[in-house]
Assembly symmetry: C2
């Protein structure tokens, strides 16, 4: 490993904690041309499927309903941050499951909605917090016809560890909305940057 690393890696990576869901890794390194030994600690999921290159999938869903256009978001309490967080619907990819299948499944489970059309799926892997973890996702973009029979009474199907509230925000009001709630709940960085990007293109 560390094949293309521009730092000089000292010794072997050491796993200093190996838990049910997370492993903590310690790597010693030097910047080339310096003598100072440094250490980089990071968190890695114990659950990354061998058959997938990414841990999870985030769904960017546009819902068309009664002539209006919404983004579909979810709000849930997150134990790591000790607070509620506004996020895209998302979840881990199961073993042998495609990103697209995982995205459609998680959208249905977390929000009750059935996607009407898959627009696109990103490639590679998108790092969530590359300074401290290799946790990664890919994005699935979908459209939902909210007037279709299967979407008139969306019903969630949550895991035991989940309590998720569905939040529909009119597309044109997304930045305004996240600004209005960002002191009350945490807004996930990728939702906030999406909202900024969406608003900038005026």
């Amino acid at each position: 490993m560390f094949a293309n690393c521009p730092f000089d890696i000292i010794g072997e990576p050491e796993f200093v904690y190996h838990g049910k869901w997370l492993k903590t890794r310690r790597v010693r390194f030097r910047k080339p041309g310096t003598q100072i030994e440094q250490v980089w600690e990071s968190a890695h999921r114990s659950t990354t499927p061998e058959t997938s290159t990414t841990d999870g999938v985030d769904i960017i869903a546009t819902l068309h309903k009664a002539g209006k256009k919404y983004f579909v978001l979810v709000k849930q309490y997150r134990i790591p941050i000790n607070g509620f967080c506004l996020e895209f619907p998302a979840g881990l990819v199961d073993s042998k499951e495609s990103i697209e299948a995982a995205g459609l499944r998680e959208l249905k489970e977390e929000t009750g909605y059935t996607a009407t059309k898959v627009i696109s799926c990103t490639e590679g892997k998108q790092g969530l917090d590359p300074g401290i973890t290799d946790d990664s996702i890919r994005f699935l973009l979908v459209e939902i016809n909210g007037d279709a029979p299967e979407n008139l009474n969306p019903t969630q199907k949550l895991d035991d560890g989940e309590m998720v509230e569905v939040v529909l925000v009119e597309c044109d009001k997304l930045l305004e909305y996240v600004k209005s709630i960002c002191k009350e709940v945490h807004v996930e960085a990728m939702v906030y940057s999406f909202a900024i990007g969406y608003s900038l293109r005026n």
Copy 2:
């Protein structure tokens, strides 16, 4: 802590690893109405300043130069992901430093550019990966006049642990660019979602 938590927390949070940069925490909990005890492991920075509510700042910078408009991004090798990652310029907030001051300092250090105008700064805290860490940032939006004397020869000033390449991408080509490189380098999720948001508003 866990004052507004809808889960039943069992016992006290336990720090199972306490390193130089990261701490690993283990929390036992139950979903109300169930008997199943679950565990949530998470990674927390050891360095969060007591004077700041967030760990870091990410800078969304628009550079105007010779009649063209660019976004300023950085590419760097990240030991946790064992690969190169395309990110917004970013850094940790120093003790007693404001988010704005930290953002302007990090922009200058990582890219050599001096911001000409601060557009806005987000409030609250934006979680990077709330499923496994409380690591958080705020966004600073700035404009850079690339034709100004101070920005004609931008010179980085990097820390010992940093090797950072500056990447300028024409604003209208951002999504096209991240799509073209996302299998070769990791694209940070918040950069990718920003690019998707920016492209959607057509």
